[in-house]
């Protein structure tokens, strides 16, 4: 199948002014180059839901900003929907949507529906198309009761739902989500994840999602791209990620005396069976559970290997 996003050796360098003592900066400014994205290459097929993860400063947002035509790259190539983003900004924007968790596209003082109406006009939607589309999204994201509420009065979770509706009004084929669950509580995060996934499945939208929350990745995406210091360090399916980095299990058991013990089994050194045999020999076990390490631990290990 043809790729909807293609990135080849994409690099972005920022030139930053060095901090110097006294008035040196005024007369002899010194600069340093920061490589935010370093020869990054990957491809995404239509309808894929991809998590794009990495520690702070890894280059996730910078990559998304280049793919959505906000930033020019220093070198390399990228095509989104067969268009070079920075050369075809307006044309591309009719087919992509962006949600930035830290930033709003809604007017602060006005009711949410006014912002939606403005976005409809910006995307050249006819009155009928706009109303039909909005009515569908309002139902899907359960925001009917919020339409007349000014943005300033919305909770963060409500605002994020409205932000996503705003980014989907023109029915984009690709949706870039940059930390859409940032700052939300557990319940709001779960709602947002479900809604994002539901919409993507329903409309076959391609997703590229950045997040620091591994649950976002597990609940929404099928594939994971991990970058660190601007370089790609992992690109495969979620299950493959687990298999490659799953070299330990946790055993939690209760002894006859009621004591609860948790032990780690290194599966590279010993098999689970051998470890359990030894455990049953050493203790009077009354209850036992075996767990995989949480995804966060796996990610931490990937970052450590990437370093």
């Amino acid at each position: 199948m043809h790729n909807i996003i293609e990135v080849n050796n994409l690099t972005k360098k920022f030139i930053l002014k060095k901090h110097q003592k006294g008035l040196k900066n005024l007369f002899h400014p010194a600069y340093q180059t920061l490589t935010a994205v370093n020869n990054l290459s990957f491809a995404i097929k239509p309808g894929e839901r991809v998590a794009f993860i990495g520690p702070n400063g890894a280059g996730k947002s910078t990559t998304i900003k280049m793919l959505s035509a906000i930033l020019y790259p220093t070198s390399g190539e990228a095509r989104v929907l067969d268009l070079v983003p920075w050369d075809n900004r307006q044309q591309l924007s009719y087919n992509i949507g962006t949600v930035f968790g830290q930033r709003s596209q809604l007017w602060y003082h006005l009711p949410v529906q006014d912002s939606f109406a403005l976005i409809g006009k910006i995307y050249d939607l006819s009155e009928i198309t706009f109303k039909k589309r909005l009515s569908h999204l309002v139902r899907l994201f359960e925001v009917r009761d919020l339409l007349n509420t000014p943005t300033r009065s919305l909770s963060l979770g409500q605002r994020m739902r409205c932000e996503i509706v705003a980014s989907l009004i023109h029915k984009p084929k690709v949706l870039f989500l940059d930390e859409p669950t940032i700052g939300l509580d557990i319940t709001a995060k779960a709602i947002i994840r479900n809604l994002i996934k539901k919409q993507a499945l329903e409309e076959e939208t391609t997703l590229l999602l950045t997040s620091h929350d591994t649950d976002d990745m597990e609940k929404v995406c099928q594939r994971v791209i991990v970058i660190n210091k601007g370089k790609l360090i992992f690109d495969d399916s979620l299950s493959s990620l687990r298999d490659s980095y799953l070299n330990k299990k946790y055993v939690e058991f209760t002894t006859e005396s009621g004591e609860k013990i948790r032990q780690e089994i290194n599966t590279r050194q010993t098999s689970v069976k051998a470890a359990l045999d030894k455990l049953v020999k050493d203790y009077h076990v009354t209850d036992l559970t075996i767990e995989n390490p949480p995804m966060e631990e796996i990610i931490k290990e990937i970052y450590a290997r990437g370093d």
Partner: protein, 261 residues
């Protein structure tokens, strides 16, 4: 594209008016205060001219005409396109991202993103001052509107050039604001008091002369030469500002600051 921008422009104006009228009292009081502010300044000049008669050939009618042009041009800028004032903040806080992600002309979207309703007070002052200037005629009124529009283009262009510095340097907001204020102050002085080096500064560096000197001269005694210099100067400045912005936009580095429109 032009038709789409025009439709968008009016829709955004509706939203701006809706925002201004969230508190109806505030909107009208602000316009009233703007009128009081303008007329207290004009009153001061009226007292000076009542005492002196003329200043280097300028009488109060000339001053009224100059106020009319500067108030009209500034109000068009402030009511409809004041977003350029906010541009340095948008650049430094990465807020241009939203505009760059949508199928709009970025400059148009940024310029119309902010409006100050109170500056309708300047618009009213401009109209009133034209009618009290003593240079009123039917065709003259349309010429006055043309001159005001061109002076608005210059005001917009200067503010845009100052704002685009933020693409290259950090914390240029205050510098840009101060230079723009100097321009506004110079635009409200009788043009006849400037000569020599000051006149060069007045026309080329801080081009306030295109708001005060040329329009008044043209409305009093039309000269094709002055008209061409005025039109070419204001249009040239406007085109220059668009080039500055286009070039600057390539240097935009975005940012991650939390923010709301």
């Amino acid at each position: 594209m032009a038709a789409k921008n025009w439709k968008l422009f009016w829709f955004i104006q509706k939203l701006n008016i809706k925002t201004a009228f969230l508190s109806k009292g505030d909107a009208f009081v602000n316009i009233l205060m703007m009128l009081v502010n303008n007329f207290s300044f004009i009153f001061m000049w009226w007292v000076i001219f009542a005492d002196k008669g003329t200043i280097k050939g300028w009488n109060f009618g000339d001053m009224a005409l100059m106020f009319a042009i500067s108030c009209m041009s500034f109000s068009l800028y402030a009511v409809f396109f004041r977003g350029t004032t906010e541009l340095p903040r948008y650049i430094e806080e990465g807020m241009l991202d939203n505009y760059l992600c949508s199928p709009q002309n970025v400059l148009f979207a940024v310029s119309t993103s902010f409006s100050t309703f109170a500056n309708w007070g300047d618009f009213l002052t401009g109209l009133l001052m034209y009618f009290v200037s003593g240079y009123v005629s039917f065709s003259g009124f349309f010429f006055f509107l043309y001159l005001s529009f061109m002076a608005f283009l210059l005001t917009y262009a200067l503010r845009l050039i100052l704002s685009t510095f933020a693409f290259y340097f950090q914390r240029t907001e205050t510098l840009g604001h101060n230079i723009f204020m100097t321009f506004l102050i110079f635009s409200n002085q009788p043009a006849s008091i400037f000569s020599g080096v000051y006149k060069v500064l007045f026309l080329c560096i801080i081009p306030a002369g295109f708001v005060s000197l040329f329009p008044v001269a043209l409305l009093k005694n039309f000269s094709l030469g002055d008209f061409l210099i005025f039109t070419a100067g204001t249009s040239g400045f406007f085109v220059l500002s668009l080039i500055f912005f286009k070039h600057g936009l390539k240097h935009y580095t975005s940012g991650n600051r939390f923010g709301i429109r």
